[in-house]
């Protein structure tokens, strides 16, 4: 037996029902609220709607009647012999009508609260959850009056190829942007259908410890456990995770908050050499620098000079072999010496003007200084495993502690490499989710047109064809490049600032929905998805992993280790048998530059016997022999010189 109705559709000349919205009244005590999904039953037609506004009024003609009736005394109003009749009227936007055609105004039927099945039909989830090859990805539950129904997104529209990308907006701290992404990634990894291929995620951690502990289980409440059960998900962290962070300026301690001893096994350095940087040199150019001349010279360096033998008899007789920044500086020095020696007329070398050459040299030199730790000078890079990405694995690139210029470089190179490999279909997985927080900073609506912004735009507009999906987050959606958020098939809104809600971007939302958005509790969000004709409110469980703050408390970052110990830790990651004491003894008295070079070579080679290889690369040390006082020598007898 079906539940009794909670209201009835009402239509007047002034408030008629239309195909897209209808009014209904309820009893004063009802569970209906803003965001509630309701079902209208009428013979031959069922209509689903979501409540977008509400109003209440009595039979008074005007507020003056109420004042006069109580003789101006608010206390007396409570002693009236009869209660005035109060009308509760709600406005609902139509989610779906069955049958879809002919599309007609909503009939005057009974209104019921939606059940699980109703929610599935209302949100058109049946199209992708009941097919032979379902593609639903749980995103949270629709909750009303103690009743909770799972809400699923369509993988084809979240991760491509039909639509793609997801954007999250919300104020900092309360909007649970990071938590939502963490939960969604967990959900995607558990439920992304295998018939749609494999998937991995690359997350850029740009502030504090936010994404530093995705692989560590966190404590969640019974209620959250129940939500996981309802969604059919396991409450577990992203166990398959790899972390990459640049070094600090010392070249051996990692520049991340994930430096606890227990977390070292999957935390690796991210270090690049000249070749890696040069391919993305335009990133380090500011707007004034971007011209065809600088581009041409950089291309010349990349194609003719770096990584190969370059001969120019005018510069010097011996060929150049540029493999590192130091080599490049030597090359530039030779050009400048040559041009200075030429004096007048020495402004151009191989059609490149000296000012262009100096500009490129300064910018490239700048990156090796400002990104010290990311950029190394010995040509032994350690990079993400391009071509060997694993299914259901998250790769976190921690750039929270590095210079903004270096952050831009990391973004640009990682995303470009992902795109290159996905175009060639040789990344190792079919889809990659790229999570970028702080879009307000990296892709602002106004401001300079940086390389990173262009790259994010390209990713938003072309990525879905490649399987490259952008999950982005920001505080103020209205202040992000419109085409980037506009290309996001799925939008998520957490608690929002009223000023932000007052911008034209939110004009389509009713005042009631805006109020609800401005007061959303943690863990609730509003969803827009191509299958949902109206925004839907949903609640998601706390992600079953440590938040950044909890992680730092449970795994406090290790103190910055002395040089030798930091080297030992790096070697231990390659081979657990390496003893710290042995490394200390080896490193003692050596120059740090030599040790770093040997360490980089060891890391790149990954030999079977790590310590032996490292020792060999350090070079045999020549021990000192104290030469004591020498004995006296007999005088040379005369007449013994064979040449005299």
């Amino acid at each position: 037996m079906s539940a009794p109705p909670i209201g009835r559709v009402v239509a007047t000349e002034l408030k008629p029902s239309t195909p897209h919205q209808f009014y209904f009244w309820t009893a004063t005590e009802s569970a209906v609220g803003i965001g509630a999904i309701v079902r209208v039953d009428h013979p031959g037609r069922t209509v689903y709607g979501v409540v977008t506004d509400g109003m209440a009024y009595a039979d008074l003609a005007s507020p003056l009647h109420a004042v006069i009736g109580a003789e101006g005394d608010p206390a007396a109003a409570a002693h009236e012999p009869t209660s005035r009749t109060e009308v509760r009227l709600f406005l609902a936007a139509v989610l779906r009508q069955i049958p879809e055609e002919p599309l007609q105004p909503v009939p005057l039927g009974a209104v019921h609260l939606a059940s699980d099945a109703d929610v599935e039909l209302a949100l058109r989830m049946d199209a992708y959850t009941r097919s032979e090859r379902p593609t639903g990805i749980p995103v949270g539950v629709y909750a009303l009056g103690g009743h909770e129904s799972p809400v699923l997104l369509d993988a084809d529209f979240l991760l491509g190829p039909e639509a793609a990308h997801l954007n999250i907006t919300g104020v900092s701290g309360l909007a649970t942007k990071t938590s939502a992404v963490e939960f969604l990634l967990s959900s995607i990894f558990q439920t992304f259908p295998s018939h749609r291929g494999s998937i991995a995620a690359v997350c850029f951690n740009v502030k504090g410890p936010d994404l530093c502990f995705l692989d560590q289980p966190g404590e969640i409440s019974e209620r959250d456990h129940a939500l996981y059960d309802k969604l059919g998900l396991a409450a577990e962290p992203l166990t398959s995770a790899r972390y990459f962070a640049p070094f600090k300026a010392d070249g051996v301690n990692l520049n991340t908050l994930r430096t606890h001893e227990a977390l070292q096994h999957n935390t690796e350095p991210l270090v690049w050499g000249l070749r890696e940087v040069l391919d993305y040199a335009e990133v380090v150019m500011n707007r004034d620098d971007i011209d065809a001349k600088a581009d041409a010279f950089i291309d010349f360096l990349a194609e003719r000079v770096v990584g190969r033998e370059f001969t120019d008899e005018l510069l010097r007789g011996k060929p150049f072999r540029v493999e590192s920044f130091a080599d490049l500086e030597e090359f530039f020095r030779a050009i400048f010496d040559f041009m200075e020696a030429m004096g007048r007329g020495g402004e151009v070398w191989r059609t490149h003007h000296i000012a262009t050459i100096r500009k490129v040299r300064n910018r490239l030199g700048n990156i090796s200084t400002r990104a010290k730790g990311l950029v190394i000078d010995d040509g032994a890079p350690n990079d993400l495993p391009w071509g060997r990405f694993d299914d259901r694995t998250v790769y976190v690139v921690d750039v929270a502690g590095v210079d903004p210029l270096a952050q831009d470089l990391v973004f640009a190179r990682c995303v470009s490499k992902l795109r290159e490999h996905l175009e060639r279909r040789d990344l190792g997985v079919d889809h990659v989710v790229v999570f970028v927080d702080e879009l307000n900073k990296y892709a602002p609506a106004d401001g300079p047109d940086t390389y990173v912004r262009k790259m994010l735009l390209d990713l938003a507009e072309r990525g879905r064809y490649l399987g490259l999906v952008l999950f982005s987050a920001q505080q103020f959606r209205s202040q992000v490049q419109r085409r980037i958020v506009g290309n996001a098939g799925t939008s998520v809104f957490g608690r929002m600032d009223m000023d932000e809600l007052a911008t034209p971007a939110y004009a389509t939302l009713s005042p009631a929905i805006k109020i609800k958005l401005a007061t959303l509790p943690k863990g609730e969000l509003m969803l827009r998805h191509p299958h949902f004709t109206q925004p839907i409110f949903a609640r998601f469980p706390r992600p079953a992993m440590l938040s950044g703050r909890e992680g730092v408390e449970r795994f406090p970052p290790g103190a910055e280790l002395p040089f030798a110990d930091a080297v030992a830790r790096q070697l231990k990651q390659l081979d657990r048998r390496v003893a710290t004491d042995a490394v200390r003894a080896l490193v003692e008295g050596r120059q740090e530059l030599d040790v770093r070079r040997a360490l980089a070579l060891t890391r790149r080679t990954r030999p079977d016997d790590v310590l032996a290889f490292f020792t060999a690369k350090l070079g045999r040390r020549v021990g000192g022999e104290v030469v004591t006082a020498r004995s006296t020598i007999r005088p040379v007898p005369s007449g013994v010189d064979p040449y005299q």
């Binding site: 040390r621 022999e625 004995s631 006296t632 020598i633 064979p642 040449y643």
Partner: protein
């Protein structure tokens, strides 16, 4: 602290087949004399430490005379400067190719010299607050990498090494000694040393702010003419050694007094000269050798000398000059012929008389012969032979 930096003495080298009155190769004696002069100089300058940066001997198995000589010179040095350490490294010339051969340099350990013959050694002299890392040629050839860095508490850290520095010297420089190991400035940690005493390159050359090649003590490389030309181009008056004030980094060159000069005379371009004219030009050049040709080492390059002219120059006089000099190299070079017409080229083929006419027009003739008549007669003769051949 005064450090005497010597390299590439090449004792025992033999060249030019001339002997001293006692039957010793003259150049071998010259080199020995240069070395003896340097030891005298070092003793006179009262050096606090002496380093020899490789190629003390020219070969792995030097002559007995060279061994005895070196032994006595070091004995003399040790006797005169008993407190001065003497450090010797082996260069590519005095490193044996197989380990069982052993190095003659170890002999000098008996005199109290500190020798690095096959492996790198770090000698510490606490009384001088000095540490010397001695890196011989063999230590750089070994597959096991070597850490070439200052070490220990000593204030003065000196590197003695026999190698070629990558990038500093052009590969095509003809005077460069081949066979040396190439090292990068990074590999030796250039900036970290108080001084780097390099050996192997035969022309004095600064390497970085605190490193020098002193050059060899005599002209002993494979191309002494290029060696001399490079010295002249750089304003270096001759061979020598360096006295280094290690604390201040000041380097003072000391020249060797050579027994004879090495003179590369200005070349002659003989295009258009007949034999007698060329004889005269050569004589002029020979006369211009400072101090005369006798006992000197001289080269004269003559370009564009056709074979008939070369045959007809005054060879008796040239032999006399060669006998007078220790070594007189008259390098007569044929003209570089540039073919203006190619065989098989399109167009009419020349007749035999035409070919002969062209050839005789260019053939070098004694000046007293009238070329016009000579050519006319030659063509006439060949036409006669030609027509004779046509008859039935």
């Amino acid at each position: 602290m005064k450090l005497a930096h010597i390299a590439d003495s090449h004792l025992g080298i033999r060249q030019y087949h001339r002997q001293t009155p006692t039957g010793i190769n003259q150049r071998e004696a010259d080199v020995a004399n240069a070395f003896r002069g340097v030891i005298d100089d070092v003793i006179a300058q009262r050096a606090d430490v002496v380093v020899i940066a490789g190629d003390l001997f020219h070969s792995v198995r030097p002559t007995n005379a060279a061994i005895v000589f070196a032994f006595r010179q070091f004995q003399r040095l040790r006797e005169a400067l008993p407190k001065a350490p003497v450090i010797v490294v082996a260069g590519n010339h005095d490193t044996p190719r197989s380990s069982e051969t052993g190095s003659i340099l170890k002999l000098f350990e008996e005199l109290g010299l500190s020798v690095a013959a096959d492996v790198a050694r770090r000698f510490e002299f606490p009384e001088l607050d000095l540490s010397v890392l001695a890196v011989p040629h063999q230590a750089l050839v070994d597959p096991e990498e070597l850490q070439i860095r200052p070490d220990g508490p000593a204030r003065h850290q000196v590197l003695v090494i026999h190698a070629e520095v990558q990038g500093l010297l052009p590969a095509d420089r003809p005077s460069l000694e081949y066979g040396g190991v190439v090292v990068t400035p990074d590999q030796v940690g250039s900036g970290a040393w108080s001084y780097i005493a390099w050996g192997h390159y035969h022309v004095r050359h600064q390497v970085g702010p605190k490193g020098w090649y002193p050059g060899s003590l005599e002209y002993t490389s494979n191309n002494i003419w290029a060696e001399r030309a490079e010295e002249e181009a750089n304003g270096i008056p001759g061979k020598g050694w360096l006295m280094v004030d290690v604390a201040s980094g000041m380097v003072t060159p000391h020249l060797v007094k050579h027994a004879r000069q090495v003179v590369d005379l200005p070349p002659i371009y003989a295009d258009g000269l007949d034999a007698s004219q060329l004889d005269a030009a050569i004589a002029d050049r020979v006369a211009s050798v400072p101090g005369g040709l006798a006992q000197q080492i001289v080269r004269l390059v003559v370009h564009d000398v056709p074979r008939p002219v070369a045959r007809e120059v005054d060879h008796a006089r040239i032999r006399a000059w060669k006998a007078s000099a220790l070594h007189f190299h008259l390098d007569m070079r044929r003209p570089v012929r540039l073919r203006l017409t190619g065989s098989g080229a399109p167009g009419r083929r020349q007749t035999l008389p035409e070919v002969v006419h062209d050839w005789l027009e260019h053939r070098v003739l004694p000046s007293e012969i009238d070329r016009e008549r000579f050519v006319a007669r030659g063509v006439e003769l060949i036409e006669q032979v030609d027509s004779d051949g046509d008859g039935p």
